[in-house]
Amino acid sequence: MSSVYALLFIVATMVLVLGLARKIAQYAKTPAPLKIPTTPAPVTQFGVVLRMCREVMFFESLFKSTKWTWIFAWMFHFGLLLVLLRHLRYFIDPVWLPIRLIQPFGKYAAFAMIAGLAGLLIRRVFVDRVRYISAPSDYLWLLLLLVIGISGAAMTFVIHTDVVAVKRFFTGFWTFSGGDLPMDPILLTHLTMVVVLMLLLPVSKLLHIPGIFFSPTRNQVDDPRERRHLVEWAGKLEDS
């Protein structure tokens, strides 16, 4: 059974990495023929970096839009970030100092993550406009993440699993030398859902993760009068 999970994680990691790389390459390769930053926009490259940081770290545009969605979305994403950083301890030995330091916060961040997801789910069900635009997959993603979050928190706070064995497994699964996973139903649920998430991420709306960095309305410098912007296919029109 443990080898099945090892295999699953190997496949899932490869799908995730290659799938994301494929999409990132596609985004990078596709030209943006016109200057379309949503203005007012930064007039320097450094300004664009700051705008992108505000967007990625604080969800600036969403904050302008709707405070409830912003609060839930930010709780979920920031909670998830801390939880993921905390999880690095299961993959590295010795555990880096910063990862050790965030351990207490990372543990409780699970609650922020779960609360944020619950808020987003409630909004999706009860706000008629959001319900209208939701496909089944939109609900399923929230449920999947909730199952991951709740099962994870359950192992931290309610029914502990054998984390030493888990760590042994994850430091050696690449070579099938990680030993046995505890056959603990909560742990197996948690891991199975994580595998599903990793497999589906590159073919889903979770592509907003790389997408934001390639969004021309956010990543372009507002300098069209100063610098001529011309992509290859548009340049070819000039030769004809």
Partner: protein
Amino acid sequence: MAKAEFETPKLSEHIEVPDLVEGTMEHITCFVAKPEHQEALGFPGEKVENWKEVAIDKMGDLLSRYRSFQVFMDACVKCGACTDKCHYFLGTQDPKNMPVGRQDLLRKVYRRYFTFAGKYFPKLVGAVDISEEIVDDWYSYFHQCSQCRRCSVFCPYGIDTAEISMAAREILDTIGIGQKYCNEIIGKVHKIGNNLGLPGPALADTLEGLEEDVYDETEVAVKYPLDVKGADILLVTPSADFFAEPHVDGLIGYGKVFHEAGVSWTMSTKASEAGNFGMFIGSYENMRRVSLRIREAALELGVKRIVFGECGHAWRIAYSFLNTLAGPFDFLDPDYPVPQHICEFTLNEIEQGTLEFDKSANDEMSITFHDSCNVARASRMGDAPGGQFEIPRQVIKAVVNNYHDMEWDTIHERTFCCGGGGGLLTDDLMEIRVKGAKPRMSAFKNVMEEKGVTHLAAICAICKSQFTKVFPYYGMDMFQIVSVHQLVSNAIVMNRKTPPEAAPDYDEDGDE
């Protein structure tokens, strides 16, 4: 196509988010372009036989040429942030007028043909096959988007529905179902030089009439030159400025400013149109062809600078795209930005002290300013971000005594569209134009009641025409819309007098 009866929305004190009512605007269809309009632009005259294939192929082509389209199709998480941001949704309650609702009309087909999930699990992700009904929805709802970009301000990924509606219209054009209004107009520009199809002699006549009017009013011989070689400045202005009200009062204002500034300037028959509807239909090729006229005119006339008159989408294309489409402009004077907005020019002269104003000339009015979408969210003026908000206001405040802004969440980058932009300024779309104007009308009515504002000033030809039409639906007067340079024109003191011996004799000339 019978004209539907419709009710003008009631204005409320606050802009309220309405409940959804599906299908309220399904019946909206604007006139379809005739074969000759289509073919002049390089599109098939009629709906092609294998339209499904052609549409999907075109979608694939656009996905590979426009990063915006590809990323925006993928990145939406259906968070709902945009759902209450579109003026057309707020005015119609139709969920397909929510930005994401509109995008999804295209996205559900994208997912079906271009994504793993949509190919194998269509129901799960809401993917559907292309069909007659889908294409009808595209034609209807992508002509209910004014490409104002308000949604893109609030989207956490910057998804801009304007980009998606441009792509949709290009797909529709490619399968032979274009919009008459836009495509006929683009044809006129290609053929004659402006959206209205005004030929050179008519233009010269109109401008001479203006000179006469201004002389009668001021006793100063202000020139409105056309095709003058060797002038310093080429003014490119929307053709509505040549005769529509209140546009023409703005044009009179530009002329007075140039006169007082003592610069030599000209307009051009070839580039007698600042507008460029090629953007509305998403066609890079047509937009480029229209833009190249301006380059050609500048070269032929040997000007040193290019200045654009008051026009919203024209300024977007001028500021953001002109250098790309028709550049490089290395033959112009490098000391000035290419191009310059007339408000930038006027403010610069004000700051240098070359212009004198008598603000009391505007005292019977109290003014508020409408930020036009394409200026506010797709361009800039001046050197600093946000100059597009400050510079027109500074110009207005220099020439009027009474000025008040509308509510903060209806101006600047949050401004509400007039309801007539993006290729919707046609009578066959009057219902959506009136309903889409509701949020702007609400904010204007509030500032009228609270601050005693009487007039709305704008720097966009489409906004001006649209307000002239929709004000009466909301119980306002069509003359409550004014051009910014009309206010300048009212207040400017003409210090460069015309000596009596140089006085033009219009009576004789006028008969020619």
